[in-house]
C-alpha cells in the first residue's frame, strides 16, 4: 500500500524540502547561466529559498525572530539587486554585452 500521509500532513519538512530544492535550483542557475542578470536573478532565487525556510522555522518554532531575519534578508536583497543592476547597466554601456565570459580578464 502506498504511503500517502505525507501528502496530507504538511509539516516543517515539506517547507524545508521545498526551500532546499529552490535553493539548489538557484545555485544551478548561478553555476550554469552566463548572463550576468540571470545570475543575479538566480541569487534572488536562493535568497527566497532561504526566506521560506526562515518563515517555516518561525512558524513551527513559534518564534518571530525568523520573520525579522526575512525582513532583513529582503532589504539586503533589494539593495544588492539595485547595486548589481547599476553595475550591469554600466557594464552594458561599456561592453554592449552582459555575458559573463567578457569578464574573464578579471583574473590576476
Amino acid at each position: 500500500m502506498l504511503e500517502t500521509s505525507f501528502l496530507n500532513n504538511i509539516g516543517l519538512e515539506h517547507y524545508l524540502v521545498l526551500s532546499a530544492v529552490l535553493f539548489s535550483l538557484g545555485m544551478a542557475g548561478v553555476l550554469l547561466r552566463r548572463n550576468l542578470i540571470v545570475l543575479m536573478m538566480s541569487i534572488e532565487l536562493m535568497l527566497n529559498a532561504i526566506n521560506i525556510s526562515f518563515v517555516a522555522f518561525s512558524k513551527f518554532n513559534n518564534n518571530p525572530e525568523g520573520q525579522v531575519m526575512v525582513f532583513f534578508v529582503m532589504t539586503i536583497a533589494a539593495a544588492e539587486a539595485a547595486v548589481g543592476l547599476a553595475l550591469a547597466v554600466s557594464i552594458f554601456k561599456r561592453f554592449k554585452e552582459v555575458n559573463i565570459r567578457f569578464f574573464e580578464h578579471l583574473k590576476g
Binding site: 513551527f60 513559534n62 547599476a86
Partner: protein, 176 residues
C-alpha cells in the same frame, strides 16, 4: 486532502516550475517574468505560513520593485535569445550539476531523516498564532532596533552608490 495541503502542493508546483523556468529559459526576459511568478508564489507560501505582512512585503519589494527593475533593465538592453546562455566545459559542467544535485540530496536527506524536527512539531501544534504582524514589529523595533537602523544606513549608502554608479552625462537635468 485538506485545503491547506492542496494549496501547498499547488503553490509548490507553481514555485518549482517557475523557478525551473528561470534557469532554463534562454530568453532572459522570460527568466525574469518567471522569477516574478516565483516571487508571487513564495508570497503565497508565506500566507500559508501565517506571515501575512511578510507576504505583502514580498509582493511589494520583490515582485513589485526588484523584479520590475530587472525586467526594465533587460528590456532596456533588448536582449534576444542568447546563443551561449549556458557555460561550456563538460567536466566543470558535470561537476557543477553534480555538486548541486548532491547538495539538494544531502539537504533533503538531512531534513527528512533528521529526528530533531519532531520536537519542533510539538511546539507548533501547541502554538496558536494568528496575527504575526504585531509580534514581528515588536521584535523588529524593540529587540533588533540596531540591525534595523544599520539596514537603514545600508540602504542610504546603496542609494547614493547606485546613483553614483549609473550617473552619466546628459539626461533630463544636464546643465552642460
Amino acid at each position: 486532502m485538506s485545503v491547506d495541503a492542496i494549496l501547498f502542493w499547488i503553490l509548490t508546483l507553481v514555485v518549482l516550475v517557475s523557478a525551473m523556468s528561470v534557469i532554463l529559459m534562454t530568453n532572459p526576459i522570460y527568466s525574469a517574468l518567471c522569477l516574478a511568478m516565483t516571487m508571487v508564489g513564495v508570497a503565497a507560501i508565506f500566507v500559508t505560513l501565517n506571515a501575512y505582512f511578510l507576504a505583502g512585503v514580498q509582493l511589494i519589494v520583490y515582485a513589485g520593485a526588484v523584479m520590475v527593475l530587472f525586467v526594465m533593465v533587460l528590456m532596456l538592453f533588448d536582449l534576444k535569445h542568447e546563443l551561449q546562455s549556458f557555460s561550456r566545459g563538460k567536466f566543470t559542467g558535470a561537476l557543477k550539476i553534480g555538486s548541486v544535485g548532491i547538495l539538494a540530496g544531502l539537504i533533503v536527506g538531512a531534513v527528512t531523516i533528521g529526528k530533531s524536527l519532531t520536537e519542533v512539531k510539538a511546539v507548533a501544534e501547541n502554538a496558536v498564532v494568528v496575527d504575526t504582524t504585531k509580534i514581528l514589529s515588536q521584535n523588529l523595533f524593540l529587540k533588533n532596533i540596531f540591525g534595523f537602523e544599520a539596514l537603514g544606513v545600508l540602504l542610504l549608502v546603496i542609494a547614493v552608490g547606485t546613483v553614483a554608479l549609473s550617473r552619466s552625462k546628459g539626461g533630463t537635468h544636464a546643465r552642460d
